[in-house]
Symmetry: C2
Subunit: 162 residues, 2 copies
DNA sequence: TATTGTTATACTCTATAACTATA
DNA sequence: TATAGTTATAGAGTATAACAATA
């Protein structure tokens, strides 16, 4: 028992602390993994959201992600320049740019990013059995519901260190 | 079933994704909570570490936190200016500054930061029963061990939004 | 010369505000 | 005038590098 433990009631890390610690760790590891795909975490999140909800305007996507629309511009510029995402002007209102995955983008999700995400999940859960992973997934899903977190979206993607 | 689900095998968020999502959420909520104590998350982490391992030099603390020593200076300056932390020069080697909590700092941990952490934990786990919280804590602890994460330290504290 | 702590500087990421075009 | 998207600017946070004191 150390000095502080004698005085404050923190004998062990709280569950919330462990969640933040492991969450940060998982985000960092994910960033490192997809760096090999020349992708930053925000780009990966955007790519996934465009794939799941194609045809949305940049305004809608920005609101969904909780980010200012101006931030999307450069992210999309890069993804579009690499031929993964496509802006299509709406003929009815030429101010809107609807976003779609290209065929190349779809293949990238299936062959590169998808497997990377699965491998990442295996990495993080390596210490648990299959049944334990299910239990953990269930408990975490309950938390996301109670805390009213948007499915498939989170702001905490972390950049890669040196 | 949406467009992307037909093409890539991501029917549900992975466990690793949920961990990152909830971890980011928890970090943000914690930042909001301790903002009422005029404390940033990095300051809270430093304060706790100084309390748990008093008498360490800034170099040692920096290595433990995985942060450059220069970053500690301003954090400590602020905490010292508020009378929560104390630098003590080592008479044997006057280059070293050993860090300690003041009595005021110890009281602050017990009466302010400690209860805030407990309330935060209750908030995040509000959707789970007591037994479920135990189970979750156990599973998360297993992950931290397998992933070799340092107890009580994580780099992912998040700043407060607007 | 090597190390501790500090100060100065630069870089990254993000948000805010100004601007263009369409309506 | 109002909105979608873009560009320009500024801020927060952090890291890197130069510096002073001590060994």
């Amino acid at each position: 028992m150390n000095d502080l433990d004698r005085r404050v009631p923190w004998q062990r890390p709280t569950t919330a602390f462990l969640l933040a610690q492991i969450g940060a760790h998982a985000a960092t590891r994910f960033a490192q993994r997809i760096a090999g795909l020349d992708l930053t975490p925000p780009q990966a999140g955007l790519l996934r959201l465009v794939g799941v909800q194609p045809g949305q305007s940049q305004q809608v996507i920005a609101r969904r992600l909780g980010t200012p629309p101006s931030r999307l511009v450069l992210l999309i510029d890069d993804l579009e320049g690499r031929g993964l995402v496509e802006r299509r002007r709406n003929p009815d209102d030429r101010r809107h740019h609807a976003l779609y995955l290209t065929d190349k983008g779809t293949a990238f999700m299936r062959n590169e990013l998808g497997p990377a995400g699965a491998a990442h999940d295996d990495d993080i859960c390596a210490g648990l059995t299959g049944a334990e992973r299910e239990k953990l997934h269930d408990l975490l899903t309950r938390i996301t519901a109670q805390q009213e977190l948007t499915e498939g979206v989170h702001p905490g993607y972390r950049q890669l260190g040196p």
